[in-house]
Symmetry: C2
Subunit: 156 residues, 2 copies
């Protein structure tokens, strides 16, 4: 039995699926695929291999890894004696994803409170509804913080 071939098939399917999940979450599909690949393999993967195995141009890899680096989800290794760059999951990638999710809700909260601040005196009913809306995002924020600690304890 050719286990290697089986694993390769499963990996391809996994990468494809996670690309869709990422896309569905409003993240670039390619970024999700790269992350999936790094999760699956565990090892660091070279720039060239990423392009080859995902069958996309090096230009696409370049912009995608830059995006993932800026988000703090992957790390670039510059192995001495190696021409190519290598990439691996950041140690705290999962916690970082959660922290990034927070920024979205914090932005929403900020927009809402800014709106409330711009309202003329009175407008109490509107203010109350905006507060309720902000409360929704605050509930999300609180639980993301929960998740961070929850996950960090489950991590090690």
């Amino acid at each position: 039995m050719d286990q290697e071939a089986d694993i390769k098939t499963v990996r391809t399917a996994f990468i494809e699926r996670m690309g869709m999940v990422a896309h569905h979450e409003g993240m670039p599909r390619m970024g999700g695929q790269i992350l999936a690949m790094l999760v699956f393999d565990g090892t660091a993967i070279s720039f060239g291999d990423l392009a080859r195995r995902l069958q996309v141009s090096r230009a696409t890899i370049s912009t995608s890894v830059r995006f993932l680096e800026e988000r703090g989800l992957i790390r670039r290794l510059n192995r001495t004696g190696e021409r190519q760059d290598y990439f691996q999951l950041a140690e705290d990638a999962y916690a970082t994803m959660l922290r990034h999710a927070r920024t979205g809700t914090l932005r929403a909260i900020s927009e809402i409170s800014q709106t409330a601040a711009e309202l003329p005196a009175g407008s109490d009913a509107i203010r109350r509804r905006l507060d309720e809306y902000a409360g929704f995002y605050e509930a999300i924020d609180a639980s993301i913080l929960d998740a961070i600690s929850r996950f960090e304890t489950a991590d090690t």
Copy 2:
């Protein structure tokens, strides 16, 4: 002083901002704008008013409200003696948003465990990494559940 005009300006800005927030969260911009309008006004708004005040075609309103209805975020009122449909926020709109967020993470978990199931016997290292990845989504799921109860208590 013309408070009405002030409020109108603030409302327009709010709708615009929330449209961007929605879009940033991977949701249609127009859906976010409609929700924002309903939150701001509090009252039910007619189909025609939505098109007029958002300055989009009725076709766009039609597809947008269908989307929001299917998600359970708004309710359509058919006032007797009124030709137009009216829309208002669903009572449990916020909790519904959270429940929907869950489906995304549950899907991710499902995809991951399906991948694990497809792996040939052995492959323990891969399996371990997939489990860790699934654990990430499970942490999110757990905290969304937290948020639902947290928000529901804060709601009333």
